[in-house]
């Protein structure tokens, strides 16, 4: 009987064979390929698959029609990913035995596998499945892709860059769908198909838009991305190396805070919320159904712990953050996002958890990286980000050159003109008695901005009534902060103002309450520009400095390998990856030469 032993990557602190029960091989047919993390002292394994983690794809390692898994689901937190791969790698007619597991809901009994993996025998040790049909994710090859981008009517400069990069990708057959109508400066009307113009905003119905894109897709492979995501030039190579039959997948994502590619941050790709499983409060969704992700529960969810997930680890609450989904159309349509949730309403977490319930895991494709063209300052603390380490604990990651006074990209995705008009709107609505002699300066430097904000907050005039205070806080985050703040902050401020009245945001109280995010923003741009002169500021020019900066970052990022990131290659791989994902300024300009690419 062929026996393959699985061994976890050492530093994950997942159980090793020494800490596991002994492998029992009795009752297993002799021609069955046995896979287990356990060891039998009398039988030497034929093969040892080392360094198993959530980035492993063991499905490609074997071709067998009779496989036995002994204790895999009990022994390994990454079992859902391994079992997904094995179930998809098996040919139709194959037999899969799952033995010696002590779990309440076996992974392969979940609804995703129901039509294909049929239990044919139940014994005291486990279940024997027969694969009677291909699974949904096996549909199609990797040559046909639909790229879907939810867009709004604002400035299309980022959509232009995003679409231009997609047109360059090494994919034989591709189509580009936009859900919604982009701004007038969009350049590629003849290369895209526009769908979902009937979906209204605000609020941004992002889940509905993504579902519409999936429904309208004509290719079996979906790549749903936000318009800030700049895909890698070798996207095709990355997905082919990773292999077919993938679940909800995403790339790791970088954002360079400076224009020389010297300050790389990990940015909104794959998160973990370990305490989410303990959130047991239900509320009513907008469609009336009961859910743990209902609007009334948002502040509670917000207060749970989030961090950037380590690519090697997997839990039920690991999820792609919604900006880039690489998935099969058939899988997405089986488990679409919840239409009744809007943007920043934890629609990504709810989706991944529902997918997990169905038997669809979420994971990272480590062979490609994306770069974000802009970033929300809210997602980092003074430039550092919270990450899950290999051993499951948490740590902070701060870029090596973060403290250096390098020329930076704008902090908030808003032009100075617009920032000024927003501040003036806030002043008009809430502080009509305040004179703002230096308003024009407040969009330029942090210090002047702070002065204006302090003056406005002290001059605020409002009724201390829940509805009015709530409206005031929403206006504050929209017009002054320029970002959507956490629901927990909103609830905290409501309670503070209820208890303390105006003293909640006057005097010294401003430092730890209402200005929490402004402190974070100021810390990231102390004495420098906060807003953009134009959105072109986000796009570095092609220069030797960018090449040198990328080389230095490629060398230094090696120290973060397996920690904040996972890189499948060495420094040269990283250097090529950084150059291949940098959104240069010419991507935002009018098309000059797109090369041999095929449009929609």
């Amino acid at each position: 009987m062929p026996l393959w032993q699985l061994v976890h990557r050492k530093k994950l602190s997942y159980p090793s064979a020494k800490r596991l029960p002994e492998l029992r091989l009795d009752g297993i047919p002799s021609d069955s390929l046995v896979l287990s993390f356990r060891k039998n002292p009398e039988v030497r394994p034929d093969k040892v698959l080392r360094r198993i983690s959530a980035i492993s794809r063991i499905g490609s390692a074997f071709v067998a029609s009779d496989v036995t898994l002994v204790g895999v689901e009990s022994d390994s937190p990454v079992a859902p990913i391994l079992m997904w791969d094995i179930a998809h790698a098996l040919p139709v007619g194959a037999v899969l035995r799952v033995l010696d597991d002590v779990v309440d809901r076996p992974w392969l009994s979940r609804s995703y596998y129901a039509g294909a993996l049929v239990p044919v025998e139940r014994t005291s040790r486990g279940v024997v499945y027969c694969k009677e049909a291909p699974l949904p994710a096996e549909a199609g090859d990797l040559d046909s892709w639909t790229f879907g981008i939810p867009v709004g009517p604002e400035d299309a400069i980022f959509v232009n860059a995003c679409v231009k990069r997609i047109l360059e990708l090494d994919i034989p057959r591709k189509e580009i769908l936009l859900c919604g109508r982009p701004g007038d400066n969009f350049l590629y009307w003849d290369k895209v198909r526009i769908v979902g113009e009937d979906i209204t905003a605000p609020p941004v119905q992002i889940a509905r838009k993504k579902n519409r894109l999936a429904q309208e897709a004509s290719h079996p492979n979906l790549c749903l991305l936000h318009d800030r995501v700049f895909l890698p030039r070798d996207f095709g190579k990355a997905v082919r190396t990773f292999g077919n039959a993938f679940p909800l997948t995403t790339f790791q994502s970088l954002y360079f805070d400076d224009i020389f590619n010297l300050v790389p941050r990990r940015y909104s790709d794959f998160n973990v919320g370990n305490r989410l499983a303990g959130q047991t409060i239900f509320g009513a969704m907008r469609n009336g159904t009961a859910s743990r992700y209902a609007p009334a529960v948002f502040p509670v969810i917000d207060a749970t712990d989030f961090a950037f997930a380590n690519p090697h680890r997997y839990t039920r609450n690991t999820y792609p953050t919604g900006s880039l989904y690489i998935a099969k159309k058939s899988v997405w349509l089986l488990c679409p996002q919840n239409d009744s949730l809007m943007w920043t309403e934890f629609e990504d977490i709810e989706h991944a958890e529902r997918a997990w319930e169905m038997g669809i895991p979420s994971r990272i494709n480590p062979f490609g990286f994306s770069q974000s063209m802009n970033a929300r300052p809210l997602l980092s603390q003074f430039g550092a980000v919270r990450i899950e380490l290999r051993n499951g604990s948490y740590g902070m990651y701060r870029p090596f050159f973060d403290a250096l006074p390098l020329p930076r990209k704008p902090l908030i995705k808003r032009t100075m003109d617009r920032a000024l008009s927003e501040l003036a709107t806030f002043a008009r609505n809430w502080a009509p008695n305040v004179d703002l002699p230096d308003l024009s300066a407040s969009a330029i430097r942090s210090y002047d901005r702070i002065r204006t904000i302090i003056r406005l907050l002290h001059g605020t005039q409002l009724l201390i009534r829940r509805d009015d205070v709530s409206r005031f806080l929403k206006d504050f985050e929209r017009h002054v902060v320029g970002d959507q703040l956490p629901y927990a902050w909103h609830e905290h401020m409501l309670q503070q103002i209820r208890e303390k009245g105006k003293h909640a945001f006057h005097g010294n109280a401003i430092h730890d309450g209402i200005l929490r995010e402004i402190i974070n923003q100021t810390g990231q741009r102390h004495g420098r520009y906060v807003f953009a002169k134009t959105f072109y500021d986000y796009f570095p020019r092609r220069s030797k400095m960018v090449a040198v900066g990328s080389l230095i970052s490629a060398l230094l990022l090696g120290f973060q390998n397996h920690r904040a990131f996972y890189f499948p290659g060495g420094w040269l791989w990283r250097y090529r990856m950084l150059l291949g994902t940098t959104p240069y300024r010419d991507y935002a300009d009018a098309p000059t030469m797109i090369g041999k690419t095929e449009g929609a």
Partner: protein, 198 residues
């Protein structure tokens, strides 16, 4: 909700005139925050009267409980009255005879109850002893309204400087943590202990 701080003398001697004056001042003020003192009521013409029908009077001892420390606000009683008194009526809280700190405590509790009411009453009148009319009026207006406080240029500058300094200190705290990591990293490199996992 219009807020009226009324002198006890005016209310008890000339209630109709005092309420008529309050009505007139409220209609002419932008903020809906009004003080009705006894000399102003005295100056009112004799024919100025206000019907007392729309008035709902609550003696403040209903909203407090007495214990060994003195008076404490009774949130339950305040909440019941807030919900039972129709919104179109003028709510008059008679705090005559109570000291300033008790009144402030009750007004704070009142704010917390009124905070979540969807519809506020037309007018809230607080009747207090003339000696504490002004501080009580301040407490009343601050309880329900966040009133503008105009900072001087110097105050703004000082607060902004403190803010910028605190922000920098916070950032340094995180940076210091980062320096520790850098030191450990350099140690590992120098002692050749750094081995990259492949």
């Amino acid at each position: 909700m219009n807020l009226v701080a009324m002198s006890a003398l005016a209310y008890w001697r000339e209630p109709q005139k005092a309420l008529a004056l309050a009505e007139r001042l409220v209609s002419e003020s932008h903020s809906g925050e009004v003080i009705v003192d006894w000399p102003s009521v005295l100056r009112m013409p004799a024919d100025s009267v206000h019907s007392l029908v729309s008035l709902h009077v609550i003696p403040m001892h209903r909203w407090v409980r007495e214990n060994t420390d003195g008076y404490r606000p009774d949130e339950k009683a305040i909440s019941e009255d807030a919900r039972s008194v129709p919104c179109e009526r003028i709510l008059l809280l008679d705090a005559t005879g109570f000291d300033e700190s008790t009144i402030i405590g009750v007004l704070n509790a009142t704010r917390m109850v009124w905070f979540s009411l969807a519809t506020w009453h037309k007018q809230f009148v607080l009747v207090v002893d003339d000696g504490i009319l002004l501080p009580s009026a301040e407490a009343l207006f601050n309880a329900f309204h966040c009133r503008p406080y105009i900072l001087t240029g110097r105050e703004t500058r000082d607060m902004a400087r403190v803010f910028m300094r605190q922000t920098l200190l916070l950032k340094w705290r995180i940076l210091r943590r980062g320096r520790g990591k850098l030191r450990r990293l350099l140690n590992r490199i120098l002692t050749s202990a750094y081995t990259s996992e492949k």
